[in-house]
Symmetry: C2
Subunit: 215 residues, 2 copies
């Protein structure tokens, strides 16, 4: 998507990647609205105009950076795409573990996904699609799991899928604020396990515990 232009010199691709990495750093540490092209340019020893030469506009740089991150993420993954079925849940826990070693990337997604809900934010379509896709994948994993465990699909699958993505995001936020108090992978595992088990075996309602209070 990002290169129909004949990119003659090989050094150019390298420079573009450098700029994109710098953009991850800057947008992660300062946000999109507050991070500047000059900040990014400085990290790769060119001027802000040099950055504009490669990406045309700040907005376009942001968009290319987001897809770049996703692409290199998938490339890193143990060959090909995301596992489905119950292994997806373990994959998500492993992702959390990997994320706890790269605060920068976590911060970009955390900051930008929230910034994206603001008026006509350029990253909004990206996160829109991202969450829709992810919820679909997690829901599919739940359906496979339910069949495997001989459980007729409960109506809670949609909620569970959204909840799993939600805890992951929310824990990342708290972890960024208090890295020493939150153990990202461990807590993520706890939460996903709780939600998965709750789909298969709902357990008592919350109000039950309040009634018990009166015993």
């Amino acid at each position: 998507m990002n290169s129909n232009i004949p990119r003659s010199r090989p050094a150019t691709q390298r420079k573009r990647s450098e700029i994109l990495e710098a953009a991850i750093d800057i947008f992660g540490n300062k946000g999109y609205a507050n991070g500047t092209l000059a900040d990014i340019a400085e990290q790769v020893d060119i001027t802000h105009s040099g950055v504009l030469h490669h990406f045309g506009s700040k907005q376009n740089l942001l968009l290319e950076m987001l897809t770049y991150r996703d692409e290199t993420d998938v490339a890193d993954l143990d060959e090909r795409h995301i596992p489905d079925g119950p292994e997806l849940f373990l994959h998500l826990v492993r992702t959390a573990l990997a994320n706890s070693r790269r605060a920068g990337v976590v911060q970009v997604y955390t900051v930008l996904s929230a910034e994206a809900v603001t008026d006509e934010h350029p990253a909004r379509p990206f996160f829109d699609k991202r969450y829709t896709t992810l919820r679909g994948e997690v829901s599919a994993a739940f359906r496979v799991l339910c069949e495997q465990e001989g459980v007729t699909e409960p109506g809670t699958i949609g909620s569970a899928a959204a909840s799993i993505l939600a805890v992951m995001d929310g824990l990342q936020l708290q972890w960024l604020l208090h890295p020493q108090e939150i153990e990202l992978a461990e807590t993520t595992e706890f939460a996903i396990r709780a939600i998965v088990n709750s789909v298969l075996t709902p357990g008592p309602e919350l109000s039950e515990y309040v009634r018990n209070h009166k015993d």
Copy 2:
């Protein structure tokens, strides 16, 4: 905390509130970095200098706005403070329901809490303290619940408390992006229920389900 100065005219307090409400709207819709004093001033029909007259600086306006929101929130609450013990969990679900009727407030917290993790953001101490306090309160509720149910306190209470706050935040984000696809209160209830039950009755580990795959 905000007024040791003799605020002589009563109209002044009203104007300050107006400005704070406008700040909620603007910072919610554009973020702190991107929202301007002029934006806020326009909503209350004064100039940006007028806003500075009342609050001194943009940063101070942000801080006063955050505490203002908390104060009026507590004031709305059915007399006095937050319930403890197992009722807290139901209170959190009711909060989610209330939030689903006021997207503006949800958006301020979502946008600003994420923006706060960036370099030396003025709202960072606020959210720092906020999460620490909330995790403490939820943990306390879990301890009460465990005693009530005759369960020896498991080591998962800390994770569970963080996870509950995390789902709530994460679901709000998804709800802001897709209001018609996410049912905020219902999904929050599902997730909290899952986590609470998991503290009392852990259930199988995630890896169990993968082993079953090979049967």
